[in-house]
Amino acid sequence: MSDTAVRSFKPRKVVLAKRQPAVQVAGQVFPPNPQENLVFRGGRTLPSLTYKIFYVGKLWADGQPAADRVQLDSALSAAMSDPALNAIVAQYFGGAEITTTALPSAVLDVNTQGDYFKTDVESIAQRTFMSGALAGVDLDSCVASFVLPPGAILSSDSAGFGQLRIGRRGPPGLPEKEEEDSRNGLGGYHGSLSIAQPGGAKKLLYAVGVWSVGDNGIPIPGWDAWENVCATFYHELNEARTDPDVEDAIRTGDVRWIGWNSPSGQEIGDQPINEASRDLTKVFRKVPVPAAPGGAVPIQLLWSNRVQGPELPAAPGAPTVAALRPQVQIITLDQTLASAVPSAPGAQLSAPSKLNDFKDPNSEEKWSGVLSGFFDFAVRGTQDYLQGQPSQFYNPTRSSPAGVAAELPIKWPGFPRLLENSGLPTTEIFRRAEAISGTMIGRYRYQDEYLEWFVTRDQSNKIVRIEFTCEGPEYWDFLAQNEPDVLLALYQKHVSPSIKLQELMSGKDYNPLNVWNTTRGAMHLIQPNNSLSAEVKIAGDATILRRNPDGSLKTDAQDLIMCARYGEPGRASDPHIGDLVNGLARDGYLISIKDPVGLYMNRPRLAGFATPDGKPVGQDWFTIDRGSEDFILRGVFTAPPGLAFVVGDIQIGGVPIVFGGQVAKFIDMGLTGVAYGKGSIHNPAFDCGPAPRVAVAAASTELALTRVT
């Protein structure tokens, strides 16, 4: 399962189905519950599974952690290859024999963290792959398994990569995406990520488990931590075996990626926990396995259709030889930063405009984690090309270059350029930009330069108020998930005091296209291209140097964006951000986005704005509602108190304001890039399009052809 937790305290979707009359069958633990029998959905399964455990942090090399590691390796290897246990799983393979190969585990020499979000895990998986630790391994059937350091919290909360979830539900049988952490019953999860390798992008299957002890993970009374973890990985690896591509199913909403799961979306390891309810010892068992040191292994029972519930293994099979492996390989992972630039520790990223909206003391760190995910995603995008060479884009939460940064302010006009260049008559351009008619919301469709506005008119249709926002939607999704009270309070403060929380939500998900952020107001950006993650990704993508067929570097903004496809060429923002960032990359800088990461508007330039009495309109007409003078997130253009005029009375250069866009034309948008170490990186340039096949791929193709002939 991906993001489907192994949990004890908050079992998900306990199905109180009517039980069948009790018929005792060998191996049966609970009365049969056929409604939860697993169903094959058509996806891939792995009869020959390979796995390799990576212990995160050098601490696993010595002392007690090393002893625990050896125990875990042996027990898990024995369990995963035990014929009696595998016979239960084999029913999902038509009864054919299934095999498991445990590759020698390794210790990752990498800085450890207190919290591991999904993006952190994916980053480690990516870097592990880049280290060559999986060289020669068939990634199609190998699950890279990561054991977190003791005390580390695991969270499956990734907030996605900027993709808003608009209350959309998957088809039946598709597991729901959940956010949990290991202090609330999450023991681990399995998933997959796409990594470039010779021959093109490759999927890496992975599993991760927390070191379950105390209030963290899934500790079983009387068990050692390594035993808890052994059971967790037994669960995860068997789920990876029977449903390896679940993350693709969640990503695409297509149930056909699923291998085996139950009608309620439970994988082979999930439903037994639900069945056990509060007494986990019913399914967390030490079962006899001859190959294991001591003759038994701690596992979690798996769902068996043949007993219509969790099944105990049959009598032990023949003993096999299991060797303890006291020696371990230690792999040092590449740092994100180029070694030519001295680095300093990473820093937590602020909320947009360094606002203090959060009430929960943990939210700041969590939000930083969300941003960190955006940066990781962008860095990983560069690695699709660079294949382990230093990326010129870095995640400031992981490490930052030491020294003084060169700052590059990047600004562009807030009025949508695509619309402006549409060739339509001027009035029509303004009208469309902000029209609201039925389900047609001009803002959603056209306002794509990271600045959006909402117009309020009086009874005579004169504009009285224009609200401008440039806040990324991810922050509001984050508030909905973590601080719903704050979410509501902010909506009530800035849009309408009458708003109720349920109006902002679609089920348990935040609905960014709620009525108060579409037809009745504007709280944050909604145009599909206007997101923080897009901002970060464009900056990251633009650090890849591009070349012309003659080998010369591409330098033209249009040429670059057409080549790299990091955005919409007709917008002002995308090509301009890419243009300037690529210029820094060509100069060999290490590049990121300055904290507070966000998109910010400038005050409108009001020279030429006048009231009907000929007086100039001052900045007291523009109020910063959210953010600071340097980082404006929300501004309201309306008459200062006590004035007889309204916005619609104002003339701009003699032309009365009849559309909000007339004011938007005087607002610039911007962000600030940071760059370190000019000339410190000399990366290769790439041809246009997706990441290229590298020489190794060409060689292996040639070899294959030779064989054929």
């Binding site: 001027t426 995308d574 003699g654």
Partner: protein, 541 residues
């Protein structure tokens, strides 16, 4: 496949729009329509004198032929040209309000710049907002609010001042024949005729600060309606070379004719495919162009005094060479017109004498030697432009980099967006020249530039350039500062101060505060220059 260029009827287009009169002497008449019917008759009597694009183009070709035949000596040819344009009020009187609104791109909901006029738009352009300040519309000599509206502008241009004056008198005489029943002129001058003349001697073709002017002009795409196999603008690049479809000659960009002419296909960023023509209120509007007129007074002693202080700040000396060097950073060209991007530290007329060289440079990318069409004499081996992405050769606030960033990074996205902002300039200086501008002392005379530009959209072209680039601190380059020549500087409360970053010959950067204004607007207006068919419709309708 590249799109076919449209057929242009050069007999239907007024000649100062394209290819431009390009004469040393000009006079402008500013007239009000007092009696519509009689004024129509008066204007109708002048139509035969209106110079078309075909006239001006053919004259130019003939003169070039004769010059070539004579080994570069003067052709001896002389001509006088005349064009006619109308203010919003004039169009309303002659064609009605609806047409007038639509010509400027406005409608009943939204007024256009053409409709509200230059004086109302003045603060948007960076002109003084304080009614007491010099340059505020209340101080203008042309188009001052409260004075009679200028309905008609007649431009007369010639190679000789006497010929221009004689032509002007002839027109006056014709106009004087049309009076109201009360004996008033039906077309009445509202202000005295404005005269502009080239500065004479070595300064011919230069503006008052001493810099050669009007060098960089875009070319328009299109084929002759009268000879569909010929382009309206000569193309001298090798048709097989990469730039051949973007440039008429090295550095001279090709724009779709809708950039200047209403009703023609329009520039669409850098795309080779044009946008369709905008909707016209009536057929007679096609091939017309919007004209901006600005009377820009220049403070020559003030300019060079400031250069003196800049030179001291940057170079530590203020001899004439230092002044020339710093002046060239401020403008982007040496006084001769030689571009500093190709000759950064020495004014060399060799870069000006060949029209295939003088505009052939970029700011961001290295120049490449253009491949020329067969029959073109070989280019001399002059150095190419040097990449300057960080503004170390030409400051981002340098005038020519501000108003035409060429290949630079721009806030609008792709550099192709620059193309959609370009306009053609047809200005001429007014007032007496200082023989040695570097050492000019205040003499009490008013002098400056009669700025004239043609464009299809005042808002998207002229006003955009002024508002966003000339007066913008952050556009096209963030923190670039305002245009070092045209920008409004100084401690105006609404503007704040800016500086220009100049890099000296040793690579040291100097941020020099911009505190002085060198330009004071003295008036002008927004006008519509109709086609020949349009003129006939206006005076006949």
């Amino acid at each position: 496949m590249k799109p076919e260029e449209p057929l242009l009827d050069l007999d239907d287009i007024q000649g100062n729009i394209f290819p431009g009169f390009n004469k040393d002497h000009q006079s402008l008449k500013f007239l009000a329509i007092v009696d519509v019917a009689k004024a129509r008759q008066a204007l109708a009597s002048l139509l035969g004198f209106v110079s078309t694009s075909a006239n001006v183009r053919q004259f130019g070709l003939l003169r070039a032929n004769i010059k070539t035949q004579r080994g570069g000596a003067a052709s001896g040819l002389s001509a006088v040209w005349m064009n006619m344009a109308f203010g919003y009020s004039g169009i309303v009187k002659l064609a009605g309000e609806t047409a007038a609104k639509q010509i400027g791109g406005g409608d009943d909901d939204l007024k256009s710049a053409f409709e509200v006029g230059l004086a109302a738009r003045s603060p948007l352009l960076g002109d003084p907002a304080d009614p007491g300040a010099e340059g505020h519309p209340s101080t203008w000599t042309i188009g001052r609010p409260g004075t009679p509206a200028i309905d008609v502008v007649i431009t007369i241009a010639g190679d000789q001042r006497d010929d221009v004056d004689a032509f002007s008198m002839m027109l006056d005489e014709r106009i004087s024949q049309f009076t109201t029943p009360q004996g008033q002129l039906a077309l009445r001058p509202v202000i005295p005729e404005l005269q502009g003349d080239t500065l004479g001697g070595d300064l011919n073709g230069h503006e008052h600060f001493g810099f050669k002017d009007g060098i960089s002009q875009p070319a328009i795409r299109g084929r002759l309606k009268s000879a569909p196999n010929s382009f309206v603008t000569e193309r001298i690049l090798d048709p097989a070379s990469p730039g051949a479809n973007a440039y008429a000659r090295p550095g001279q960009v090709l724009l779709w004719p809708g950039q200047l002419l209403l009703g023609q296909v329009r520039q669409n960023g850098s795309s080779l495919d044009p946008l369709p023509p905008q909707q016209l209120p009536a057929d007679w509007v096609r091939n017309g162009s919007l004209m901006v007129l600005r009377l820009l007074e220049q403070d020559v002693p003030g300019f060079w005094n400031t250069m003196r202080s800049f030179a001291v700040a940057v170079l530590g000396r203020n001899d004439d060479k230092a002044l020339d060097w710093i002046g060239s950073r401020i403008v982007g060209r040496w006084r001769s017109g030689a571009p500093i991007m190709r000759t950064p530290n020495l004014d060399d007329p060799a870069f000006v004498n060949d029209s295939r060289v003088v505009n052939d440079f970029g700011f961001r990318n290295a120049g490449t030697r253009p491949a020329l069409a067969a029959g073109q004499p070989p280019l001399s081996d002059l150095p190419l432009s040097i990449p300057d992405p960080n503004g170390t050769i030409c400051p981002f606030a340098g005038h020519i980099r501000k108003v035409n960033p060429r290949d630079d990074a721009v806030e609008l996205g792709a550099p192709g967006e620059v193309l959609a902002r370009l306009l053609v300039r047809r200005g001429v200086p007014y007032g007496p020249a200082f023989p040695e501008p570097l050492h000019a002392q205040p003499d009490g005379n008013r002098r400056g530039l009669i700025f004239i530009s043609y464009q299809a959209s005042i808002e998207r072209q002229f006003e955009f350039l002024m508002q966003n680039w000339v007066q913008g601190n952050d556009a096209p380059r963030s923190r670039g500062g305002r245009d070092a020549v045209l920008g409004t500087h100084g401690p105006a409360p609404t503007l704040g101060s800016t500086s220009i970053r100049v890099t000296d010959q040793n690579g040291a950067q100097h941020d020099v505060p911009q505190i002085a204004n060198f330009i004071t607007p003295r008036g002008g207006g927004y006008f519509f220059t109709p086609s020949i068919i349009g003129l006939a419709a206006l005076v006949g309708s």
